[in-house]
């Protein structure tokens, strides 16, 4: 469990980083941010990048800002940045709920939001957030900047729209209206494990009925996504058991769950129903 040899590069600016990436990306160069996924896979030699471009020294990438209705999460912002209560509004409250489910605190002090988004593990909580809120991935290369919405960014199990010369410099999330209710629930065999399934919901009330519903499911399918069928069920309904049960049922019917040695598709489908209902019930 010692990585194969690689060259290590430490750019001090985004321009330098993308220049390195333009040159080294095609030679299996990889970005190193928090390293919580990449380094273990390198130790197993399942990943063997020939070049590592360490972006931890680039100050501007460590910024977490909120303004103009957008939360911008720089590439080096750690998960733990969301453990504290600094980010305002309904989006801040949601991220605080979600972050508690990501691994364990020591890992959260090192791993990054954008690293998780770029790695695109099916069970990544941040990917579920990006999908639910229609976040935008900001991709920089020497060719320019692309802003790719989550629905286009995610393409499969650990597969994204990122080109090999592109650096995910930031993720953008909308500031949800202050009266948005949000809920997040996941299930794993142990606390901090990759979830077998997760549900994220958000909605507002207008005149006593649900508007702008968002229901996203993660962990169950190759990548997290919004489930329009469940959102349609909620839209215009009064919040309560009837609507929540129906929406959970719709989400469960809409997903096409993955199978693995310990979890059948049917089990995951059942979890999607349960978790969606619980996320709706717990939304506040």
């Amino acid at each position: 469990m010692k990585p194969a040899s690689f060259s290590y590069h430490v750019p001090t600016s985004v321009d330098e980083a993308v220049a390195l990436l333009a040159e080294l990306g095609p030679q299996d160069g990889r970005i190193l941010a928090g390293g919580q996924s990449l380094v273990p896979t390198m130790a197993f030699r399942m990943a063997r990048p020939t070049h590592l471009i360490d972006i931890n020294g680039i100050a501007e990438l460590a910024r977490l800002t909120a303004g103009g209705g957008i939360v911008t999460v720089g590439a080096c912002v750690r998960h733990a940045a969301f453990d504290s209560g600094t980010l305002p509004g309904a989006t801040g409250a949601l991220l605080r709920k979600v972050v508690q489910n990501i691994a364990h605190y020591p890992i959260r002090t090192r791993g990054t939001f954008c690293g998780s988004v770029a790695n695109a593990d099916p069970a990544s909580e941040w990917c579920c957030v990006m999908a639910a809120l229609d976040g935008v991935a900001v991709l920089r290369s020497q060719r320019g900047t692309r802003r790719v919405p989550a629905a286009e960014f995610y393409q499969g199990v650990m597969a994204t729209a990122l080109d090999e010369d592109e650096l995910l410099v930031a993720a953008e999330l909308p500031m949800l209206a202050d009266d948005t209710r949000t809920g997040f629930v996941e299930f794993s065999r142990r606390k901090g494990d990759f979830a077998i399934a997760m549900a994220l919901v958000a909605y507002r009330l207008e005149g006593g009925v649900i508007v702008e519903p968002r229901v996203a499911i993660g962990g169950a399918e190759p990548h997290a996504r919004r489930i329009a069928e469940a959102e349609d069920v909620l839209s215009g309904q009064a919040p309560g058991a009837a609507a929540f049960v129906a929406a959970a049922e719709a989400a469960s019917a809409a997903v096409d769950p993955m199978e693995d040695i310990n979890n059948t598709a049917a089990y995951r489908r059942g979890l999607v129903r349960t978790l969606t209902q619980r996320a709706l019930e717990s939304a506040e």
Binding site: M1, K2, R45, D193
Partner: protein, 769 residues
């Protein structure tokens, strides 16, 4: 005034061994290095089963920094790794060679070893070794009909048989018969510190040294000396700190042999540290058994007979323990119950998985699960409560010592002492069982899936026959106890120091305990099978007692008092009435120096050797009770209450006993709900990281209530001690299974562990349909 020495036995004093550990100055295998050392990296088979046609090491040998690359041909003179208890002709063909030759039989089997000046270089070069393998079908299920291991040999090397009485008659006369098919999953000890071995040949002294030893240094010295044709005087093992033993650490594995052979042949020290992935596929697995068991009972639920055929999944080879786990399972299965007739056949099967051996409470974790599932089923069949059916079968105190015509660990089973029903009553009262039962009934009515589980069990400890210790008082008053014991982190030094301190009359902090050093004492039993405290502490008491007599005798001369009027308090010999002068033990040691004129005819030194011999093992016993709640939507199990009641005969350090029980519980919980080495149909291991092999963490572990009793001191040793090392883990699979089953309606649905959320959910859905 009468002076009163401090009592150390029974005191929860702090551990002597903690200071270097908590200040980061311990010395684990990874901390041991020697100048000019080489680093070894194993090349392991990626196939579970196949014919090894060729290995190409040319590219690896060419890597700068690589000193040697060995395959089986390079060490053709080395025999396979033998059994700890000596040669066994019948089992010999199934032993593991140090490096695979002709056939590979599990994914992870060592096929080559790379020696390089740097561990990274060694790992790079190891990747360049290529193998030409014709893949063969892998045997994954030990309960399928036996197949061919090698020409003329089947995958069932032996059937371990035990029993007594007339089993056919027992079933003929039964009022009811209960039959079950029960399985325990494959899991094992996964210590924080992986294995490590540093071999060094000291040509100046002609001594071969193995550092990173653990568990049984003296036994391993004998085995290694035999293997290399050296005298034991020319082989020494050194135990440093050990980050968890649990049965898997400290056995002789291929890697231990290789670092020693390489140290001799390459002329440089050789260091090997196991990585986590290797640990999961190379260190001993354990536990996996499938029992097809039947019980014959009379109309009142009393056992008449048990008939068990079980399949023991040994993995690819038979390692140092031989058939010990299966044998122990046969001998211990009846537990605390009267059993007139018994027959058990253990089908000892080889499969294409990592070889198996002992893991904390071997043979008991499995059979406690099996027997207690059976007892619950008998209760259900006869409409009795689970408590009542047990009460009717428990061996009573007036039947002790209770001889069973069975053998466990090569020792005749004689239950030395115990009040099983007494402990059951205490446990039920402690957890307020009746109230819990009422609460569970009410919550069930309200739709909750809650359940209570109970398991009773007999542990074994203190395997003999003999252990020794030497106690030596230095002239500054410090006491050294030289033992052949071993410390795997359990508090060995503290416990031995307490017994020495109590016997001799010194502060336990003045006692330095030596262990795990074959160069300091000729014999030793190490630390396994919950024997260290029982055997080594009793030997220490004998040695310390002799030193005490010598000290009092010397002091009597110097103080001009009769020795019978003297005692030792806090390291000073004084009159029991406190009157007159006193003299420190260090001064007495000074008077006993070889050159001392006051020594007289006495042998020099304030020192003595003591030996303790026991006829049989001693049997502690326990009751575990759990209250669980199932989330019917996810199948997740939450443990709301957990009680372990355990009788240790006499507790040397109650804090350490408690620690052993809680720590053991956590490992037992792993096997009950989380941990499993899984394989695919080709024999590829699927649980090679902590993301796939789920150890319980602090989040999953409930508060555990511990009730330690001392109602039945052992009749096998003067201190009355029974071991505590395995009492926590032993019945956790049993009790959690019982509780989850109860939460699912008490229908006997739980027939295998670990119990996964998906399985529980399927059972709930199945019942609803």
């Amino acid at each position: 005034m009468t002076v009163k020495p401090t009592s150390w036995i029974g005191a929860s004093v702090e551990r002597l061994e903690d200071k270097p550990l908590v200040t980061g100055r311990g010395r684990f295998a990874g901390d041991v290095s020697f100048p000019h050392q080489l680093h070894m990296r194993m090349v392991r088979s990626s196939y579970a089963h196949g014919r090894l046609k060729a290995i190409d090491v040319t590219e690896a040998r060419a890597v700068p920094g690589v000193v040697a690359v060995w395959t089986a041909d390079d060490i053709a003179d080395l025999p396979p790794i033998d059994f700890r208890e000596g040669p066994n002709e019948k089992l010999a063909p199934f032993r593991q060679s140090v490096l695979a030759k002709d056939v590979v039989r599990y994914a992870g089997e060592p096929v080559a070893a790379v020696f390089a000046t740097d561990p990274y270089v060694a790992e790079d070069a190891a990747e360049l070794v290529t193998m030409d393998v014709d893949e063969l079908d892998a045997v994954i299920d030990a309960s399928l009909p036996a197949s061919e291991f090698a020409a003329g040999l089947t995958t069932e090397p032996t059937i371990c048989r035990q029993g007594y009485g007339d089993i056919a008659a027992a079933f003929k006369g039964a009022a009811a018969i209960v039959e079950m098919d029960l399985s325990v999953g494959r899991h094992s000890g996964v210590p924080l510190e992986t294995r490590g071995a540093i071999g060094r040949y000291d040509a100046a002294r002609d001594v071969l040294e193995l550092h990173g030893a653990a568990k049984v240094p003296h036994k391993n010295r004998e085995s290694l000396a035999r293997m290399f044709g050296r005298s034991t005087a020319g082989v020494h093992l050194y135990e440093g700190h050990v980050g968890g033993g649990f049965g898997v650490r400290g056995e002789i594995y291929p890697e231990d042999v290789l670092v020693l052979v390489a140290a001799m042949r390459l002329g440089r020290p050789v260091k090997w540290l196991e990585d986590r992935r290797e640990h999961m596929i190379a260190a001993n697995h354990s536990r996996q058994q499938r029992h097809c068991i039947r019980a014959a009972v009379d109309a009142e639920g009393r056992l008449i007979g048990i008939d068990d055929d079980f399949f023991h999944d040994q993995g690819a080879y038979i390692r140092t323990h031989g058939t010990r786990v299966a044998d122990t399972a046969c001998g211990i299965l009846p537990g605390p119950y009267r059993l007139p007739h018994y027959r058990v056949n253990a089908h000892f099967r080889l499969t294409n998985k990592t070889p198996a051996a002992t893991y904390r409470s071997p043979g008991r974790y499995e059979t406690n699960f099996v027997r207690e599932r059976l007892m619950d089923a008998i209760a259900r069949k006869l409409g009795l409560s689970r408590i009542e059916v047990r009460r009717r079968n428990l061996i009573s105190p007036d039947e002790m010592p209770y001889e069973r015509p069975l053998v466990a660990l090569g020792d005749e089973v004689v239950l030395d002492s115990g009040d099983y029903e007494g402990l059951l009553n205490k446990a039920l009262e402690r957890c307020q069982w009746d109230r819990l039962e009422r609460e569970v009934a009410e919550r069930r009515k309200a739709g909750e899936y809650v359940g209570l589980g109970l398991a009773m069990y007999v542990e074994k400890s203190g395997l003999g026959p003999t252990d020794g210790a030497r106690v030596n008082v230095h002239t500054n008053g410090e006491v050294e106890v030289i033992t052949g014991g071993a410390s795997v982190g359990q508090g060995f030094e503290t416990v031995i120091a307490q017994v020495c301190a109590e016997t001799l009359g010194v502060d336990y902090k003045r006692v330095r305990v030596i262990h795990g050093r074959t160069d300091r004492i000729e014999y030793g039993i190490g630390a396994h099978a919950t024997r260290a405290t029982v055997m080594t502490a009793n030997a220490t008491a004998v040695a310390a007692g002799k030193v005490r007599v010598k000290a009092l005798d010397m002091a009597a001369q110097l103080l001009q008092t009769d020795a019978g009027q003297l005692t030792i308090v806090n390291g000073s010999v004084m009159r029991t009435d406190g009157a007159g002068a006193s003299i420190d033990l260090g001064d007495l040691a000074h008077h006993l120096r070889p050159v001392s004129p006051t020594r007289g005819e006495r042998d020099p030194g304030l020192a003595a050797e003591g030996w303790f011999t026991t006829a049989h093992m001693t049997y502690p016993y326990g009751v575990q009770i759990a209250l669980v709640r199932i989330d019917p939507s996810t199948g997740g199990v939450d443990i709301e209450k957990m009680l372990i009641a355990f009788d240790v005969g006499r507790s040397i350090n109650p804090m350490l006993v408690r620690g052993q029980l809680v720590g053991g519980f956590v490992q037992g919980l792993g096997g009950a709900l989380f941990e499993e080495f899984q394989y695919d149909e080709r024999g590829q291991p699927l649980s090679v990281t902590f993301a796939d092999y789920l150890m319980p963490t602090a989040h999953e572990v409930p508060e555990v209530d511990i009730l330690v009793t001392e109602d039945a001191p052992s009749s096998c040793n003067p201190l009355g001690i029974k071991g505590a090392g395995e009492g926590g883990v032993a019945a956790v699979g049993a009790v959690i299974a019982s509780a989850v089953d109860d939460a699912l309606g008490g229908k006997g649905l739980i027939t295998q562990i670990p119990i996964t959320p998906q399985a529980v959910k399927a059972m709930i859905d199945g019942q609803r349909k």
